[in-house]
Symmetry: C2
Subunit: 256 residues, 2 copies
C-alpha cells in the first residue's frame, strides 16, 4: 500500500526545489530501473513496484538490500509522471561525477550554455552517449538533468554520460590549450572547418544562443549551413544542431 | 467575447477526429500567425486575438477580408494549447500540396514510416526545411501533422515544406529509378556510403524502425555508427537520426 506521506513525497520530487532539498530524483519504468539496478545500485533509496515486477526482480533486490514496497497499478498511476506508467518507480540519490578541468584535455566534450527545454537536454545526453562524448558540462541555469522529462528523454544515457554543472569561467580553459568550438548562426561552414578529434563544443540557449560573455572564448565559431533551397526556417532545434555537430566531428575523425 | 460554442469548437480541434471532420486546425502565437497571413492568407478561416495584436494587424486583416474576433487574455487562455498563450489563435483550413511521384525524380526527399511522436514530426519538418528537402511523405499512420504539438515544433516550416500523406506502395518508385536509402540499426556506415544528391530517404518508427514490408525496397541500408567509446545508448532519437542523415547528404553534395 502507498501511504499518503510517500505519495506526497514522490510527487514533490517532480519539482526542482524538492529534488534539491532531498538530493533525490525519480526514475521510472522497467527498462530504466533495471539498468539503474545494474549500474548504480548504491544510488537507489527505495523502490515502489507492482507485484509482477517484484516477482521478477525481488530475488536480486533482496541480495542488494534495497527496500521495495509493493503497490498496485492504481497507486502507481497516482505517483507516475508517465502517460503509461510501467510497473516500477525508484527514488534515487542524485550523483555528480568527480571533475577536474584537466580531464577535458584529450577529450571531445560539450558545454551547454542555458539549455532550457527538458526534451532537448535529455536528447542531447542520449546523443552525446552515442557519439562517445566524454563530458557534458551544463551551465548552472540549464534545466535540471534530474527532472522527470529529461530523465525519460535520455533513454538511459543518464547512467553513462558524465554530466556536471559548472560555470564556464571556472573551467580555466586557457591553461588547457583546447580548441573551443561554438555553434552560432553565422559562423564558418561546419563542413569546411578543420575539426580536431579533441576540443570543447559550446551549444547555446534555444532562443538566445551562446551568451555574450562566453562568445569571446570561442576560437572556432561554426555553423550548419542551410541548403540553398531552404525556405522559411531560421534555425535548427538546439538538440538537432548538437547532434549534427557531434556527428560531423566523429565523421571527420574516424577511429576505425 | 468568446462564445461557448466557439470555445468548444476550438478545443475540439485539438483532437484528430474533429480536425478531420472539419478539415481545420489551429495555429497559435504572434510569429506563426503573422507568417501564416503572409504566406497562406486564403487558408485562414477566422482569427481570435487580444486587442494589442488587433491594433497591430487590424489594417492588414481588413484588406484581406479575414474575420477577426477580439477576446481577452483570460479567454485566450481557455482555448490555447500553449503554456504561455501569445496574443492570437487562428482557425486554418488544412492543405495538401499536389503531388505526383514523378516529382521525386531529381529531388532529395524523405519518407516517414510511422513516426508517432509529435515533437519528432515537427522537428523533422523544421530540419527538412533547413536542408532544402523537397518532399516529406508521411505514411498514413504517422502522427497528424496538423496536431498542435507538431505545428508548434515546426517553428513555421509547416508553411514551407511540401508534406503529404501517402502509402509507400502508391509511390511507384520502380519507374523512377531513384536510389532508396533506409536508416536502420545495422546498415552501411553513413560516412562511407556514396550519397547521391537525389534520392528518397526512409526513416522508420521510433520503436520499431522501418516496417518489414517496406525494407525490401531499400537499396542502401545506412546507419549512423556509434563512437567506439559509446556506452549504454542503443539508438538515436528518430528526429536526431533524420537530421544527421540529411546533414551528411547535404555535406557530401555541396551546392556552392
Amino acid at each position: 500500500m502507498l501511504s499518503k506521506k510517500n505519495e506526497q513525497y514522490i510527487r514533490s520530487l517532480s519539482l526542482k526545489k524538492f529534488r534539491q532539498k532531498y538530493n533525490n530524483f525519480i526514475i521510472e519504468g522497467d527498462k530504466m530501473v533495471s539498468e539503474l539496478l545494474a549500474q548504480f545500485p548504491d544510488q537507489v533509496e527505495r523502490i515502489f513496484a507492482v507485484p509482477l515486477w517484484i516477482n521478477q526482480y525481488g530475488h536480486q533486490l533482496k541480495k542488494s538490500g534495497i527496500s521495495v514496497q509493493e503497490i498496485n497499478e492504481r497507486e502507481l498511476k497516482k505517483i507516475s509522471s508517465l502517460k503509461t506508467p510501467n510497473q516500477v518507480l525508484a527514488i534515487v540519490r542524485q550523483w555528480e561525477p568527480d571533475f577536474q578541468p584537466d580531464q577535458l584535455r584529450g577529450s571531445l566534450s560539450l558545454y551547454l550554455d542555458g539549455i532550457q527545454n527538458p526534451g532537448n537536454m535529455g536528447t542531447i545526453l542520449r546523443t552525446a552517449d552515442w557519439f562517445g562524448i566524454d563530458w557534458v558540462i551544463c551551465s548552472p541555469d540549464c534545466v535540471d538533468r534530474f527532472s522527470p522529462k529529461v530523465v525519460q528523454a535520455t533513454m538511459g544515457a543518464l547512467f553513462s554520460v558524465k554530466c556536471i554543472r559548472q560555470n564556464f569561467k571556472n573551467l580555466s580553459l586557457k591553461k588547457l590549450n583546447l580548441p573551443i568550438y561554438g555553434a552560432i548562426l553565422k559562423g564558418e561552414n561546419l563542413y569546411n572547418t578543420n575539426l580536431k578529434p579533441h576540443g570543447l563544443i559550446i551549444i547555446g540557449n534555444e532562443g538566445q544562443g551562446i551568451r555574450p560573455d562566453i562568445l569571446p572564448f570561442v576560437d572556432h565559431p561554426i555553423s550548419i549551413p542551410p541548403h540553398h533551397e531552404a525556405r522559411g526556417t531560421e534555425s535548427l532545434n538546439a538538440a538537432i544542431a548538437t547532434a549534427i555537430i557531434c556527428a560531423t566531428f566523429r565523421g571527420a575523425n574516424p577511429t576505425s
